[in-house]
Subunit: 343 residues, 2 copies
DNA sequence: TTGTACGCGTTATCAT
DNA sequence: ATGATAACGCGTACAA
């Protein structure tokens, strides 16, 4: 694999390597003719600069890394599209990095900072409660976007965050169902051992019940299965199916994500439970798929565009020197559709 | 940013850099005690090896790159999960690279081969008809997985491919609708200027009509909008809405992807068209979301697991020396659900 | 405007 | 088992 490198090109053109480098990187100090000759030679010989070598040598690349856990959360996928536009608009490029479920996103970030010469990091989703010391090692600015619980022992001026107030919105959604006359409200939430958004929304749910004089019934709360992909339709489906087997009566089902809710709907349908006649179902996120469902899904819509813009605004504010670490709470929007009925 | 490097660690441990390197990379020729001492020192000082330097120097990394166009095609997302498992099972790691719609995946692949020291490439989706010469420059084995049209001027023993016979399956689906008594069958397909799977399925559609003595009506064929994300629900929605405005009568709608079909369903519902009473709808791919819909979507299911396994089997067969380039055609499976009725 | 020489952090080779 | 040193391919002072 004798791949052509910058020295070969230099030799072929009868110039120095630095001249070739200047041609590649659009440096000003180069004769237009020389440049064209070099670029032509590059094209003819299929020369492709080696990014590893570039990263190794370069001081700073105009790159923002976006780390996302999993790929099945369509809400996060939607955010990526907008983040990319915004990052491009600032003259940077986006490096999307997928983090496995059993991987630590902070470790990945640490590696990435060394490998590419990142200027900033955006964490999409995830949970950062126990990652304090590691997080502090990151010497580039970062934003926790749509993250659930946040690190508590790290001072809030060392990082930024953008999210909705998951507990409050969970509260609002529950209260909405209560106002519709529901008392036996079931919930599908996140596993107990992690401190994700699901847990916070569950806390809001409990508080709303309490404030409205409804006793909390642990029988009504179910958790995502750890052996199935987090926040997937499949997970919502299997959990609901198991739930129905227990014959616990309920009139409404609050799922911590739309995808879970859609899976739940399927399980309900299969069991002959009509939505919303027999059971009302609500989700959280406001993903497109919910709009297309039958019945269309009532949900707590997260302001995707606003959150993505806030994320990049804060990050570039810090990178460009004006602006400092900020914690932005966006307001979610309760979208009433067809999956809920009044009792 | 004075980041600690391998030399610092060597100095601190009173050993040579090569010994540290051996400790990191699990080389056999190293004293267990020395190794532990070094690893401890590494952990204490938060040393993280620089991947750019490693990639630059390393001869071969056990890495397979998977290139995917976009992220909204849930069928491809499903494939990724299985591909990753399979790749890991072979002791390799997967580098997932997202390709933008206006980017050339072959260009990206070429860069990647230089940057990391890939052993193989998997192209997910995409269209390779006009990329022949570039494709040939790739000096690592690659598999075109679920790609639509394939390069014709490159000899078939220079690359591998895994896909369904899109034309035949398009034919079968159309014939299925015809057998159900449909004659005015509309179609939402891929843009005319690209040679993707959509185009092939369209060809099958035309052939089926012809073979069954039904005149092809160009009025009934619509294409995805170029200004909206390819194969997205949104695209299916807007195209169908526009289509309905033209008041062209039809009794069935064949969409080249499930996502398009789900978007189409929404548009039909909004227009007061009942599914399947007024119009039957079918999709293609067999994504999970289709199962959950109301009505659940009749579709041509692609054998995701089989295709992913075939892809990695072929690739590793070539990498490991036994086995050569292969072209595997998998059989799709027509899944009848609730979105079609007999006339 | 252009070329030379050095260093980025690592792994591979070779010697010990 | 270990260490010294030469690459890997590129960007960039600095000199010309």
């Amino acid at each position: 694999m004798n791949t052509v490198n910058i020295r070969d090109i230099a030799r072929m053109c009868g110039v120095g390597v630095s001249t070739v480098s200047r041609a590649i990187n659009n440096h000003p100090d180069i004769n237009q003719e020389t440049k064209e000759k070099i670029l032509k030679c590059i094209a003819e010989n299929n020369y492709i600069p080696n990014n590893s070598a570039r990263n190794l040598k370069r001081q700073e690349a105009k790159v923002i890394a976006v780390l996302i856990k999993g790929l099945t959360n369509t809400f996060l996928i939607e955010m990526i599209q907008i983040l990319e536009e915004e990052i491009k608009r600032h003259g940077y490029s986006m490096a999307l990095e997928r983090v496995h479920f059993d991987q630590d996103e902070v470790d990945i970030a640490l590696e990435l900072v060394k490998e590419k010469r990142l200027r900033g990091i955006i964490f999409l989703g995830g949970d950062f409660e126990n990652r304090v010391s590691k997080l502090r090692e990151l010497d580039v600015p970062f934003v926790l976007s749509t993250a659930g619980s946040q690190p508590e022992d790290i001072s809030s001026d060392e990082y930024s965050s953008v999210s909705v107030d998951d507990m409050r919105e969970g509260y609002k959604m529950t209260e909405f169902l209560i106002k519709k006359g529901h008392k036996r409200i079931a919930m599908i939430s996140a596993k107990t051992d992690d401190e994700s958004v699901g847990k916070l929304r569950l806390r809001g749910y409990k508080k709303a019940l309490e404030d409205n004089g409804i006793a909390f019934d642990p029988e009504l709360v179910r958790f995502m299965r750890p052996d199935v992909e987090d926040y997937s339709m499949e997970n919502g489906y299997v959990v609901t199916r198991d739930f129905l087997k227990d014959k616990v009566p309920f009139t409404a089902l609050f799922c911590v994500s739309d995808t879970l809710a859609l899976g739940a709907c399927r399980a309900l349908n299969e069991a002959g439970v009509r939505i919303p006649e027999d059971v009302s179902v609500v989700g959280f996120d406001g993903v497109e798929a919910g709009k297309f469902y039958c019945p269309s899904l009532t949900t707590m819509e997260q302001p995707v565009t606003e959150m993505a813009r806030a994320t990049t605004d804060i990050l570039f504010g810090i990178i460009d020197g004006h602006g400092s670490h900020t914690h932005k709470i966006c307001k979610a929007n309760l979208v009433e559709r067809e999956s809920v009925r009044s009792l």
